[in-house]
Every structure is written in structure tokens, then in C-alpha cells.
């Protein structure tokens, strides 16, 4: 039995020793969307920020969950910075006093993805709402994010404008997952979905059976905004870091990094447009 005790003590000490955190570090939570995370934007943006900032020992922890959840996380006080894409929810967040210092950061657009034979004829749609009407009347399968993300919010708006109640759709699959997973499910099922262009481009090579079918309607514009969690609401929020990060991402250096961020084929994934 002594051995057990000894083994345990050794493990415990080792574990405690190994887990002692670097005390000087300030960890700041940036709640964001799956599209920004999984395109790899943060992999270039964060190092550039660390290089740019004069703040010492700051670490930005990106929690990528989709816009709706990201805002919810921030409303509970569990984030310091938001980078999301749903203007309505963002404005409500600020109006309710949870956030401040909102800036436009960048944009891309939403695109309709589907099977190349395009049974719904989405390709021939006159505008985005018409495309969604065609999807509904064709009875083709549609995969929805179903996770209250910015993309999901846009999709719901389009169904509404098309006068379609998704409950009545025969093959409407609400999967409750991030953009990549949703695109993969769409691909496996040969279905339709609404995606942001960046995530689609990054995944394009590995998608077997779906292609880009409809885009270009101004209604599909996809604006990303950054904002700080209001320290008046949550005194523990790292507002100083948030302000510093916003100055970076909406400033010339951050904007240049975003504009230079491309996929393998050389497409610009997010167009910087901070004022």
C-alpha cells in the first residue's frame, strides 16, 4: 500500500508543479465565430498583434463558438472582446450596456453552396430571396447551421423574406454545428447550405460533391465587427487590453494583415474595411 501512496504523492506533486501557471500573464478571452477561427485568420492575426502591442505578457484566448453563443458568453461576463458578424445582435448587445467601442473590421459575403447538377436551379436565381424560394420549392435537402451563429441568423432572415417556414420543409436539417462541420455534412449529403465565402474557400479542395452556386446579392453582405466588453458592466473585464486589440485590428497594421490573408488559391478571404 505504501507504494500506492508514494505513487499518488509523486503524481500529485508532479502535476501541481507542472500546472503552476506563469503568474505574470494576462489572459484575455476573445469570443468569436467558427469562420474566423477555422480559416486560420487568428493564426496570423494574433502573432501580428503580439508583435505590435506595447502591452506586456498579454495572451489572447480565442473561444470560437458562433456569433450567437459568443455574444451570450460575453453577456455572462466570460469574454473581454467580441469579433462577430450579426449587426442586429451586436447593436442589442451594446444598447443593453454590455459592450462598447464597436468598429467595423472586415467583410466578405455569404454564398449558396449545393450539388453541381443544382436540382433547385439556384444558379439561375435573380436574387438571394429568389434562390431560397427555389430551394424551398424544389424539396432539395438543406443543411442549416442551427446554432444561432451569424450565418444562421442570415439564413433565417432569407427564409423569412422568401416567405418560407422551415418547419414545413421536408428535408431541412438543422445540425447545430460550426461552418466546417456543416459544409462537410452538406457535402456528404449532396445538399444545399448557406456558407460564408471564406470557410467555403478554405474547405473547397476537400469537398467532393458541392460547388458554389449563387452569390452576389448585396443582401448577402457579411460584415464583421469588433467590440469590447463594457467594464462598467463587468469590472473584471480586461478593457485596457480590449481597447488595445481593437486599435490594432481596426488600425493600419491589423487591416493590412487581414487584407493579406489568402487561401491557397490566392483568394482574399476577408476584405478589411475599418473606418
Amino acid at each position: 500500500m505504501k507504494l500506492t501512496v508514494r505513487l499518488m504523492l509523486i503524481t500529485l506533486t508532479a502535476a501541481l508543479f507542472l500546472s503552476s501557471p506563469a503568474m505574470a500573464e494576462t489572459r484575455v478571452v476573445l469570443a468569436s465565430t467558427t469562420s474566423t477561427q477555422n480559416t486560420g485568420l487568428f493564426d496570423v492575426l494574433l502573432p501580428a498583434y503580439y508583435n505590435w502591442t506595447k502591452m506586456k505578457d498579454v495572451k489572447i484566448d480565442v473561444v470560437a463558438v458562433g456569433t450567437g453563443k459568443a455574444i451570450e458568453v460575453a453577456r455572462r461576463g466570460d469574454a473581454d472582446i467580441l469579433l462577430v458578424h450579426d449587426r442586429e445582435k451586436e447593436d442589442a448587445f451594446i444598447k443593453d450596456g454590455y459592450g462598447k467601442d464597436r468598429h467595423d473590421v472586415m467583410y466578405n459575403d455569404f454564398v449558396v453552396i449545393g450539388p453541381p447538377d443544382d436540382p433547385a436551379m439556384a444558379k439561375a436565381a435573380t436574387d438571394a430571396v429568389d434562390a431560397f424560394k427555389r430551394l424551398a420549392s424544389s424539396g432539395a435537402a438543406f443543411v442549416s447551421r442551427g446554432d444561432e451563429s451569424g450565418t444562421h441568423a442570415k439564413e433565417k432572415k432569407l427564409w423569412k423574406a422568401a416567405g418560407v417556414d422551415t418547419v414545413t420543409l421536408k428535408s431541412y436539417l438543422s445540425v447545430g454545428q460550426g461552418m466546417e462541420a456543416t459544409l462537410r455534412i452538406t457535402d456528404e449529403k449532396g445538399a444545399y447550405t448557406l456558407s460564408d465565402r471564406a470557410t467555403y474557400y478554405v474547405l473547397k479542395d476537400s469537398l467532393k460533391s458541392v460547388v458554389l452556386l449563387y452569390w452576389g446579392d448585396p443582401a448577402l453582405f457579411n460584415q464583421y465587427g469588433v467590440m469590447a466588453v463594457n467594464p462598467a458592466k463587468f469590472p473584471h473585464a480586461h478593457y485596457d487590453v480590449a481597447k488595445d486589440f481593437i486599435a490594432f485590428i481596426a488600425g493600419p497594421v491589423g487591416q493590412k494583415v487581414i487584407g493579406g490573408f489568402k487561401d491557397k488559391a490566392g483568394h482574399v478571404l476577408f476584405t478589411p474595411n475599418a473606418k
Binding site: M1, K2, L3, T4, L7, M8, T11, L12, A15, L16, L18, S19, R27, V29, N38, F42, D43, K59, D61, V62, V63, A64, V65, R76, G77, D78, Q177, G178, E180, A181, R184, L203, S206, F234, H236
Partner: protein, 232 residues
């Protein structure tokens, strides 16, 4: 089929080339689950032993509860820990959400009932004459109880292994309370889930292989410890 074979080949080269990202993730997984199981054992083993060795009010209910929570879905544990640790929750002032500490807490919550319930069943099945004999030979009641626990040590080891296996394999709770933050709270299971979603299967397969390997090594180590334990 090609994906699987290519993935396996790349996985092996990642493992053999000591890829830094891969090993950081493995190390964090071991650290979080290891620490969680140590905490779970420090609470669970005494708790299970006391339930088996002593009579007290509510013992039956407690054992039933432990057995119930043994099957606690990790996401439920994750949800509970999330709500407690969130800044808007009762323990929010500690600022632990989205940190490895939060993951340790969640996994300890998952592992503790497993360790306790299995310890209870192990100690309860030890022949009661062990205690009686020890008492006859002049042992104090405490010493006699220690004898009982000691008789059950092999099964108690198994209880700890079971707890560790459960925490290593678990994905829901660590994802909720850790947030899957790159280089900070990203462990093997959350990486596998994420990389599969992204369609980059190499890292996912590599980690899958490592998970199986870790389970194997842990079992071998514990078997060795058990082997020695028998001669103590």
C-alpha cells in the same frame, strides 16, 4: 480508404518527428486528466471506503447516488461546472472558466463518483473476517479498516484506472469549460473533434493513435504496480 491510409502514415510521421503541437496537446491531456483523477481519488477512495466500512445515516442513499453519478453524462457535468464557474455564476469571482483549471474541475467531477463507487464495491466485497481477524490480533479499529482497504487494493487500482480512462476519453465537458483554445485548453479529444470537422484528418488520426497508446501504457504501468503491490 485512401484518407485512412494516408492519414495513418502522416500520423505516424507526426508522432515520430516529435511534432511540437502534437506533443503539447498530448501533454496537456495527460496533465488535466491526471490531475483530475488524483483529486477524484483523494476524495473518492476515502468516500467509497467509508461507505463500505462504516454504518451511518444515509449510507444507502449515498451509495445509490454515487452509482447514479457514475453514469453522469460528461456534458451534464460540463454544463454544471460551466454555470458555476461563469462570471455570472456563484464561483465566477475566481475567473476560472476557459482555463485548464476549469477542465480539471469538470473531469474531477466526472471521475470522482466512478472512483468512489468502484472503491465501495471493491471494499464491500472483501471478506469481513479480515477485519475480525485483525481486531482479534490486536489491531485498532482504524488499523483493521486499513487492512480491509489494503486487501481490496487491486480493485481500487482498477477504480482509479477506470476514472482516468473516462476522463481521457471525455470530450463534451472539457470543450464546454475549456473552450478548446489553441495552445491553452486544447486537448486530444477536442482536437480530434475539431480537426475532423475541418477535414484535416492527419492530426486527428495521430491523436487517436496516441489516445489508444496512452490507454495501453497506463494499463501496463498499473499492472506492473499491481504486480509489485501484491508482494508488499
Amino acid at each position: 480508404m485512401n484518407t485512412i491510409i494516408n492519414g495513418l502514415a502522416k500520423a505516424i510521421s507526426l508522432i515520430l518527428s516529435f511534432d511540437r503541437e502534437l506533443y503539447a496537446i498530448i501533454f496537456l491531456s495527460l496533465k488535466v486528466s491526471g490531475l483530475a483523477v488524483v483529486i477524484a481519488s483523494l476524495i473518492g477512495i476515502p468516500l467509497g471506503a467509508v461507505c463500505a466500512l462504516r454504518r451511518f445515516f444515509g449510507r444507502g442513499v449515498l451509495v445509490t447516488l454515487l452509482n447514479t453519478f457514475m453514469g453522469l453524462p460528461p456534458v451534464v457535468a460540463g454544463l454544471a461546472v460551466y454555470l458555476f464557474l461563469s462570471r455570472s455564476g456563484p464561483l465566477g469571482f475566481m475567473g476560472l472558466l476557459y482555463s485548464p483549471s476549469a477542465m480539471v474541475i469538470a473531469q474531477a467531477v466526472i471521475a470522482m463518483p466512478i472512483v468512489a463507487a468502484l472503491t465501495w464495491s471493491a471494499v464491500a466485497s472483501v471478506d469481513a473476517r479480515v477485519r475480525e481477524t485483525a481486531l482479534t490480533l490486536g489491531a485498532t479499529p482504524m488499523m483493521a479498516e486499513w487492512r480491509m482497504l489494503s486487501e481490496a487494493r487491486l480493485s481500487v487500482f482498477s477504480a482509479v484506472i477506470a476514472g482516468f480512462g473516462r476522463t481521457m476519453a471525455e470530450v463534451g465537458a472539457v470543450l464546454m469549460v475549456g473552450g478548446n483554445i489553441a495552445g491553452y485548453t486544447r486537448v486530444m479529444t477536442t482536437t480530434i473533434a475539431m480537426e475532423t470537422g475541418k477535414g484535416s484528418f492527419e492530426l486527428a488520426i495521430a491523436l487517436g493513435v496516441v489516445l489508444i497508446f496512452v490507454a495501453f501504457v497506463v494499463n501496463v504501468l498499473f499492472r506492473m504496480a499491481q504486480g509489485r503491490g501484491m508482494t508488499v
